[in-house]
Amino acid sequence: MSSIDTKKIPFTKNDFVSGQEIRWCPGCGDYAILATMQRTLAKFDIKRENHVFISGIGCSSRFPYYMNTYGFHTVHGRAPTIASGLRCVNPDLSIWVITGDGDGLSIGGNHLLHCMRRNMNLNILLVNNRTYGLTKGQYSPTSEMGKVTKSSPMGSIDHPINALCVALASEATFVARTLDNDPIHMSETFKRAMDHKGTSFVEVYQNCNIFNDKAFVPVTGRDNRDDRMIYLEDGKPLIYGKEKNRGIRLVGMKPEIVDIDNQELDQLPVILMSHNEKTADPSYAYMLTQMDHPEMPVPFGVFRALERPTYDDLLNGQVKTAIKKLGPGDLKKLIHGDNTWTVN
């Protein structure tokens, strides 16, 4: 998203803290996400009044109340629609939609998909904790098969959905994943999302310590993360591991782990896949989304960043064209239409 205010105003995190009492459970991953968002906004020149946070319903959707910006806590699953309407009438705002795995992928799945295919110029943060927190722990659309919850005492029989696959299938122009216990990566990802023009979709792995504690620990836990996560960097080969001794290469259409201990460094780009965010063919990014624990390391970072005209620009362009072609609206002409007759 382009910078709106050119006059440099040095902001601090506290400029974006609203006075409202935070009502998340102690230890919730949302605290880290909120603080990171506040810190990230401080890095931009965008004035406070030009930020808007719009959310649906769920734990994460309380987010706007805690941001000292404009905010709107709306209807379950429908935040992208409200954000789209706002974007269409105001090109100058920086807009974040805050949603969750239930809000965005279940009740609001339809809106998420259409917002992304239109490439509305706004950012979507999908806070994924693989559970329904606010309704106290039912399984969500991202919960794993077999998950035992109050609503699935014999185990969930719902096949889970992958948020990034939805984004790619909807042809989102910016698709990224980050995690709540890596504030630096999170902040960098938020910043990239804001810099991108078009719909930026960011999934953040978030821990619900009450209903689904440690859901992501097998991947993102301190002891394992280096060997089970892979950070995507544009233009660089896919390398991971505590010793940076493993990489990903492509065999046919399938990614495969290779040991690179004995490889010459200059050979690595030849052997390994190099990450390219601008790959137009979505199957590359889709393949990355299929890399999952335990078979493969789980990718984090920007999967895809492409340029495509935004809906709001096209809409405003049509208005401009119409005015140029037909002249600014003349009420009298409109009322009279093409055929009138006079009664004396």
Binding site: E49, N68, T74, C88, N110, H111, V319, T340, W341, T342
Partner: protein
């Protein structure tokens, strides 16, 4: 075109009001034919009202009963508001059209049939056991058997056209016959054809030739000895155009936003019979209009709420089933206290119901079809042209009172056309908009205007007014989330009071006929035409009753109670099973209110209202 001299042996008579019904297959161009006949009536100075009546299926199988599409128009030398109960002339393009429409024609009325297609196969398709042209089925009518298809083909034989193209011109042959019968000027239609098919001169020639051939056929036909002449109506002096309810709604919304100096944002999902509001608005982008064809009804409404949050005027349009889907979003706008205009073009229900037919059965839904205590403003236009003013009213109320407003139109007035005396721009109401620009101390989004009780409409992007709103219960003044019991009671009371305050800004109800008496006929919205005409019809028979038509359903006009109190009985005719009746009985328990209900997909006929009134007197 020069006026042709009448053929030998013909006679001209004058008539005051004539009802014509064109009926054919959905592909026969009956709506277009009716439109041309209507435009000509308008330009010849008649008053008129139309009733397009078409199936939901785009092309039901050719020649079947469900595929019949009809268009009825009444045109007159005096003021009228209905398309006529029964037709003086029925044009039936095939056996199915004849069968479907026999109940819509006057005894002794004229039926013009396309004899060419009364073949055994098409008779069977339409369910005729024998050819009705050959037995005494039609003995009560004057039947004119015209081999329309054959005559059209003969007339166009020298033109380089495909057979299907020739076939498509037969409606113009039929129109030519009707133009002769009612002494109509053909120039407008000729011009229209020239413009419409400018890129295909052979089609222009074919249609004009067919039109003239039909006219000449009628002129020389011995079966049509009389030509009728209908004088200009004594309409009020002024400039007029023909307008349908949906056109007037769209133009009214554009005008309102223009008067308010606001961007019109219209989110909509295609739905019959509301879609052409979206189509009309999409043509007016040079007014800064932004139309958004959303992924569903909810998104359409959500985007409108988002636009209103952004400080422009968010609107959405739909019909019954779509309104069900919008309920939760409308409630958000009620809680967030944002302007929102919801156009509901009512259609036959429940569920998918009868999409192309009319009904007034969403009144209770718009008033009560949401969770919690969520009062909303409701207005209802009473004629096609009235949609213009009521659309402006809806926008005015939404902005002045920071509330959603439902505009309850219906399938009948949405598609029906009438002459509209064009208003002077200067006479249109001004809509005042204020946005706060600064705040002493922290901004309080839930303070209220003492007169309207509206909260301030602060636009995102305004420095110092950063605030958060949402669907959770709000604390008075601050708008912070609050579950305080006393506060919740207070806020619900305040929102209800705000809606009641709207009554201060709307006109009083007026009564046609005596101000006191035995019977008041109380209607609302689109039933104005037949109720008005039923009253005047009874008056001409020496029976004096009164009639009032509600345009404001929530709140009611302040004088409604005192008006009702002036009558021994109140008859409430509605195209539902008694919804306004229920409200009147609740709000005015002392009033002797009785209902008249109809849910058949069609508007009231004047005669049935007259008979019903006689039965309750």
């Amino acid at each position: 075109m020069d006026k042709q001299k009448l053929a030998v042996g013909k006679e001209v008579k004058s008539a005051t009001a004539i009802t014509v019904r064109f009926a054919g297959d959905s592909g026969d161009g009956m709506q277009l034919t009716g439109d041309q006949f209507t435009d000509t009536a308008a330009l010849m100075g008649n008053d008129f009202a139309t009733l397009p009546d078409y199936p939901a299926e785009i092309r039901a199988p050719v020649g079947t009963l469900p595929g019949v599409s009809s268009f009825q128009i009444q045109f007159s030398d005096s003021i009228i508001f209905t398309p006529g109960d029964l037709a003086d002339v029925l044009v039936a393009m095939n056996p199915a059209a004849l069968r479907v429409n026999l109940t819509n024609i006057k005894k002794d009325g004229m039926i013009i049939v396309n004899e060419s297609v009364f073949t055994e196969a098409s008779l069977v398709k339409a369910g005729w056991k024998a050819n009705p042209l050959d037995d005494d089925t039609l003995k009560d009518y004057r039947v004119l058997r015209v081999p329309l298809s054959v005559l059209t083909k003969n007339a166009l034989k020298d033109l380089p056209l495909k057979l299907t193209e020739v076939e498509r011109c037969k409606n113009f042959f039929a129109l030519g016959i009707m133009f002769w019968l009612y002494d109509r000027d053909r120039d407008h239609t000729v011009e229209w054809v020239r413009k419409k098919f400018a890129k295909r001169p052979e089609i222009v020639e074919a249609n004009i030739t067919a039109l003239k051939a039909g006219y000449t056929f009628a002129d020389v036909s011995e079966a049509m000895p009389i030509q009728f002449h209908i004088k200009r109506a004594k309409l009020e002096a002024g400039v007029y155009r023909k307008i349908t309810g949906n056109e007037a709604t769209a133009i009214g919304l554009v005008a309102a936003c223009n008067l308010a100096n606001k961007t019109l944002f219209y989110g909509s999902y295609p739905i019959t019979p509301a879609s052409n509001i979206l189509h009309e608005l999409a043509r007016h982008k040079n007014f800064g209009v932004k139309t958004f064809q959303a992924e569903d009804e909810i998104a359409a409404c959500g985007a409108a709420v988002g636009a209103s949050f952004g400080g422009e005027v968010g609107m959405t349009g739909t019909s019954g089933p779509g309104l069900c889907l919008k309920s939760e979003m409308i409630n958000l706008a009620i809680m967030a206290e944002l302007p929102l205009v919801v156009v509901n073009v009512q259609r036959g229900g429940p569920s998918t119901g009868m999409p192309t037919k009319t009904e007034q059965a969403d009144l209770l839904q718009v008033l009560f079809g949401r969770n919690g205590e969520s009062p909303i403003a409701v207005v209802a236009p009473i004629t096609p042209a009235d949609c213009f003013l009521m659309a402006i009213e809806a926008v005015r109320i939404a902005i002045e009172y920071m509330t959603p407003v439902v505009l309850l139109s219906d399938g009948n007035i949405a598609n029906a056309a009438e002459p509209w005396q064009l208003p002077e721009i200067e006479a249109l109401p001004k809509i005042k908009v204020t946005h706060p620009t600064n705040s002493d101390g922290p901004f309080m989004p839930y303070t209220r205007d003492p007169k309207t009780l509206a909260r301030p409409w602060a636009k995102p992007g305004t420095p110092g007014l950063e605030h958060r709103i949402g669907g959770l219960a709000k604390a008075d003044i601050t708008g912070n989330v609050s579950y305080d019991p006393e506060n919740n009671q207070k806020m619900i009371n305040l929102r209800a009071k705000k809606i009641r305050r709207i009554a201060d800004s709307i006109p009083e109800l007026t009564v046609d006929g005596p101000a006191k008496g035995k019977l008041l006929v109380l209607g609302w919205g689109g039933t104005y035409g037949p109720l008005y005409q039923a009253r005047t019809e009874l008056e001409s028979q020496g029976i004096k009753i009164s009639h009032a038509q509600l345009k404001y359903l929530n709140p009611f006009p302040k004088n409604l109670g005192s008006i009702l109190g002036n009558f021994e009985k109140v008859l409430i005719p509605e195209l539902n099973m008694g919804q306004l009746l229920m409200l009147i009985r609740y709000h005015f328990p002392g009033v002797n209110a009785v209902g008249m209900h109809k849910v058949q997909g069609h508007p009231f006929k004047v005669t049935e209202v007259v008979e019903h009134i006689r039965s309750v007197l």
